[in-house]
C-alpha cells in the first residue's frame, strides 16, 4: 500500500509549531492567563481539569491549587474513594522523610535486586504505536528517576540501549521485534499475556502506522496491518507458561520476570499461577487502560476495572501465603498520584502509568491514536511515526515534561502518606481501613 511520506518539518516550522503548542498548554492550564479550559476537552474518566492539571504539573513540578488533579467524574472506582486523613496535628511534618521507593524482587532468588525510586514505572507503548522520540523521552526520564519503562511489543530501537538499565523488554504474543540482544539487555522481561483495553483480543497496529522503519523493526511488510494474535500459541497451561519463563531466564540469567495479565473472573488464580511459574512481578492491567487501537466493544465491557481486581488478587495471594514474595503492579485506568495511592491501599505494591505520561506531554485524549481520518496518527506527535508529526515531540522536551510531572506526582504521593501518618509506601499496602467510600458522588 503506497502512502504519502510527509517531509520533515523545517527548523523554522518546528520552532513555530513547538512554540505554539507549548505556549498553548501553558495558556490553558495556568490560572493567570485569560483563557479557560476548552469546552470540548475531557471526558468522565479524564476530565478537563485532570488533563490540564497534568499539563500544569509537567511544566512546574507542582500540583495546581486551581484544578482538581486528584479525581475524575466516572462515578465509581477510584473516583468514589477518598483517604481518611489524620487531623492535622497527627500528620507527619511537612519536612518529614517519607520513603516511596519500591523493591521489585521479593522472591529472594539470585536474580536482579532492584529498587526503584518511586512506586510506579512506565507501561508498554510499542515503537509504531509511538515514535522513538516518545520512547526516548520516557526512557530518559525513567533513567533520571531510577525507575523503568517498557518497550511494548514493537521491538527495541537502538537509541534505547543508552537507557537499557531502565528499559523493560516486552515479549508479547506476536513476538514482534523480540531479539536475544534486547532480552539480554533488560533488567526485567515482561510477558504480555493480555492488555486491559482489549483483553483477549491481541494487538493491532493499523496499516497506516506500520511505516518503513516500524515494519523493519518488526520484521514485517510496510503499511500492512499487524495483528498480534491472542494468546501465546505455545501456552495452554501454567506449565507451558513456566516453560516460557524458563526459556527467557536461560537467555538472560539475571533479569526479573514480569507477567502482565488482564483482569478476568479468575484473575486471582491467574496471578497465583504466574507466581508459581516463576514471576517476580504480577502486573494486572484493568479494563479502563489505554491503547493505540482497540475495538470499542472491548473497552469497558470485557474484564473488570483495576480497582476491583487489586483487592481480589491481594487477598487471595495473602491466603496462599505468597503475598510477600511477589510484587503486585496495577495499571489500566491509573491516572493520578491519588489513584496510585488508592491502588496501593487496595493491595497493590506499585503502579504502571501509560496514558498519564502521554497527557503530560500534551495528549488531549481525542482517540485518534490509531491513525484517525488523516491516517497519520496523533496530531500532537505522540502516538505516531509520521515523519513530520513525530518531530513535534523532541526527546529533551518530553523528558523534561515527564521529569517535572513525576516530581509533582512524587510530592503528592508523599503528601498523602504524611496526611495518613505513614513514613513508608509499603505501610500503605492493603490498608483499606484508611479509605472512605463516597456513596453520593465523587471523592
Amino acid at each position: 500500500m503506497a502512502k504519502k511520506e510527509w517531509p520533515k518539518p523545517s527548523p523554522k516550522l518546528l520552532e513555530k509549531t513547538q512554540h505554539l503548542m507549548h505556549d498553548g498548554f501553558h495558556q490553558r492550564a495556568f490560572p493567570d492567563t485569560p483563557y479557560e479550559l476548552p469546552t470540548a476537552l475531557g471526558d468522565a474518566r479524564w476530565t478537563d481539569e485532570l488533563i490540564a492539571s497534568a499539563w500544569y504539573m509537567a511544566e512546574t513540578g507542582e500540583c495546581p491549587d486551581h484544578l482538581n488533579y486528584k479525581t475524575g467524574k466516572s462515578g465509581g472506582g477510584f473516583d468514589r474513594l477518598a483517604f481518611k486523613e489524620l487531623p492535622e496535628e497527627q500528620q507527619l511534618a511537612a519536612d518529614a522523610e517519607v520513603d516511596i521507593t519500591l523493591e521489585l524482587n521479593r522472591r529472594g532468588d539470585e536474580r536482579n535486586k532492584r529498587t526503584i525510586d518511586v512506586p510506579w514505572y512506565g507501561g508498554g507503548m510499542s515503537y509504531g504505536s509511538v515514535s522513538v522520540n516518545v520512547m526516548m523521552s520516557r526512557a530518559l526520564n525513567a533513567k533520571k528517576w531510577n525507575t523503568l519503562m517498557s518497550t511494548g511489543e514493537g521491538g527495541y530501537p537502538s537509541e534505547l540501549y543508552e537507557c537499557a538499565d531502565n528499559v523493560i523488554t516486552q515479549v508479547a504474543t506476536g513476538y514482534f521485534g523480540v531479539e536475544e540482544k534486547s532480552i539480554q539487555a533488560a533488567p526485567i522481561i515482561e510477558f504480555k499475556y493480555a492488555q486491559g483495553a482489549k483483553p483477549g483480543l491481541g494487538g493491532h497496529l493499523l496499516a497506516t502506522k506500520a511505516g518503513e522503519e516500524v515494519a523493519k523493526m518488526r520484521g514485517s511488510v510496510p503499511f500492512v496491518s499487524l495483528f498480534s494474535p491472542f494468546p501465546f500459541h505455545s501456552t495452554y497451561s501454567v506449565e507451558d507458561h513456566m516453560k516460557h519463563l524458563d526459556w527467557v531466564k536461560t537467555i538472560n540469567p539475571t533479569a526479573m520476570m514480569s507477567v502482565k495479565v488482564s483482569t478476568p473472573h479468575d484473575v486471582d488464580m491467574v496471578a497465583v499461577g504466574s507466581y508459581y511459574a516463576g514471576a517476580h512481578i504480577i502486573h494486572l492491567d484493568g479494563g479502563f487502560g489505554g491503547t493505540g487501537a482497540a475495538p470499542e466493544i472491548a473497552k469497558k465491557n470485557i474484564a473488570m476495572p483495576i480497582e476491583l481486581a487489586i483487592p481480589k488478587v491481594h487477598k487471595f495471594m495473602q491466603m496462599e501465603g505468597i503475598r510477600d514474595n511477589v510484587t503486585l503492579i496495577a495499571s489500566g485506568g491509573v491516572r493520578t498520584a491519588d489513584d496510585m495511592a488508592k491502588a496501593i491501599a487496595l493491595g497493590a505494591d506499585g503502579c504502571v502509568l501509560g496514558t498519564s505520561d502521554l497527557v503530560a506531554m500534551g495528549c488531549t485524549r481525542c482517540s485518534n491514536c490509531e491513525g484517525g481520518p488523516s491516517g497519520r496518527g496523533c496530531p500532537w506527535g505522540l502516538t505516531t511515526t509520521d515523519t513530520e508529526l513525530q518531530e513535534w515531540v523532541q526527546q529533551a522536551w518530553g523528558a523534561d515534561r515527564l521529569d517535572k510531572y513525576y516530581t509533582a506526582l512524587a510530592k503528592r504521593m508523599k503528601e498523602i502518606l504524611r496526611q495518613l501518618g505513614l513514613s513508608n509506601i509499603g505501610e500503605l499496602r492493603g490498608r483499606t481501613d484508611l479509605l472512605r467510600y463516597i456513596a453520593g458522588g465523587e471523592a
Binding site: 516550522l13 495479565v261 489505554g290 479509605l435
Partner: protein, 500 residues
Amino acid sequence: MLAADFQETSDNMVEGSVTIQLPVAEQARLNRKLADTYHRYNIDAVETENRNKYPRRFNVKVGKIGLAKLLFKEFFKYFGHWDVVFSRPCTYGVFSGPVGGFAPRPDLCVGCLRCEVQHPEFVTVTHNKELAELGDSYLTSKHIATIDEESRKGSVPVRGQGYRGRFGGPGFDQMFTDMSEIVRPSRDGIHGRELIGTSVDLGSKPMRLKFGADGGLLEAPKMMTIQVPFFYSPPPDSVATGIVPEILAEAADKVDTLLFLPENTVTNQGLAGPHVVPIIAPGQIGNIESHAKGTRMVEMSSWNLTAWNQVKEHPLLVSIQLPLAGDWMSTLMEMVDNGVSIIHLITDHHGVADDGRFVMDLYQEAHFALVDKGCRDEVTLIGTGGIAGADHLPKAIITGMDAVGLDYPLLIAMQARLTGDTKTRGAAAVKLPSNLDKGWGVQRIINLSCSWRDQLLEILGAMGIREVRRLRGETGRAMWCGHLEAEAFGDIEGFPGGEH
C-alpha cells in the same frame, strides 16, 4: 451434496463391475469439487455512505480578525519561509479549504483541539448540540453515532485511547464479560474467529431420539436454525407498512435471520417467505394455514390456551409473545406446561418491565426458572427490548436468551430520526430519509448485522467460547459491577451495605 457426489462417482464406474478405486487424481478432483461447494457463513458488508447529512461532532469557530492578525504577523515574521506561513494546526483538513481558517470545515473536525490549544485567542471548538440531542435517555446520541458508523462501514469500530465513560452504570453497563488468558476457541486464537459459531436453534431441542422398529426416526425435531443470535423485530406503527418492512425482509433473507411482522403487513405487501414470521392474533390463529411461500414460523401475539391447542401440532413453528408485565412468570410456566417451545419475552424500548425492573434481571429469572424446572433445552427463549448497542447482544444472551430482537437500531441504521414517545413499543414517530431506497436500506441493515456479529465474535473469542449457543445463560462468565464492588470495597467505610 453427498448424494450428488456419490452419483457422480458412480457414473465413473463400469456398470456391473465391482467397486473400483478411482484414480487418485480423479478422486482428489471430486473431493475438491465437493469441498468447494461449502461456503462458510459470511455477511457481505459493503461501505454504504450516509444519505442524510449526519450531525457533525464538533463546531469550529474562528475569529476572523484574530486570524487575520496572526497571518499578517507571521507573513512578516516568516517572510520567505512559506511552509511556515501556510502551516496549519490541523492534520484533518479543517483549515485546508480555499480560504483556510476564514471558512473552516467543521465536518472534518475530530476534536483533537490542537487548533484551540495553539490559538486560544481566536479558535473555539465545541461539541455539536445537534448531535448531543439525538436519541433519548436510553438510546443515546453515542449509541446513535456508533450505529451510524457500523451501518456505514459494516466493520467493528476501532479507536485509540482507552475507555472514556462512566464506571459501571445502569442497564447492560452493569455487566463485564469474562475473558480467558490462555483458553481459546480454536488453535488459531481469536484470529480463527471464523471458526466460532453464531448460529442458534429455535424450537424444542429433542432430549432423546425415538426410533421405530424399522430403524426410522419416529419424531423429527421441530426446530430451525438461524445464522445469528438476533432477529429483526417489527418497526413502529408509523413505518409498519411500506418500504421499511420490505427492506427488513430482504436484509433478513440475506443475513439468514428472521423478521417478525404483523400478519396483515406480510399478506398485504406479499412479504411471506422463510425469513418472515407473521404475527397473528390468537383469534385469527386459524389463518396459519394461509401462510405459504416457505414460511417456517408464525408468532401468536399473546398467550391463549385455546388458540395454542389449535396450532400446537401444526408443522410450522409457533412462538408466543409474552410481555414482561404483571404476573408474567405464572403465564410463562403455563405456556411451558402446555408445550410451548418458543417464547418471546417483550418489554418497552428501554428494556424495562412494568414493575420498573430491567431485562437483564428478568431474563435471568425466566431462564433459571426453566433450568429449575428441568426443561430449559426444550424451550427457546427470545427477547425484544432494550438492545441499543453491540455489547448488549452478548449480555442479553448471557442472561438467558437464545436470541434477541433488534428494533430501533435497525431504524437508526437507515438514518431514521425518532421523536415522540420513544419508550412505548410501536409509538415513536419516525422520520426516514426522503431519498431512502430499498437497495441502500438493505445494505445498511446488512452492514449493521455484520458489524454486530463481528463484535459478538470478539466477545466470544476473548472468553474462549466456541459457539454462541454455549453462551446462553452462562452467568458464570459474566461479572456484575455491583457484586465486584461489594467484594472489593465491602470493608471500606461508607460503602453501602458494607461491614462499616
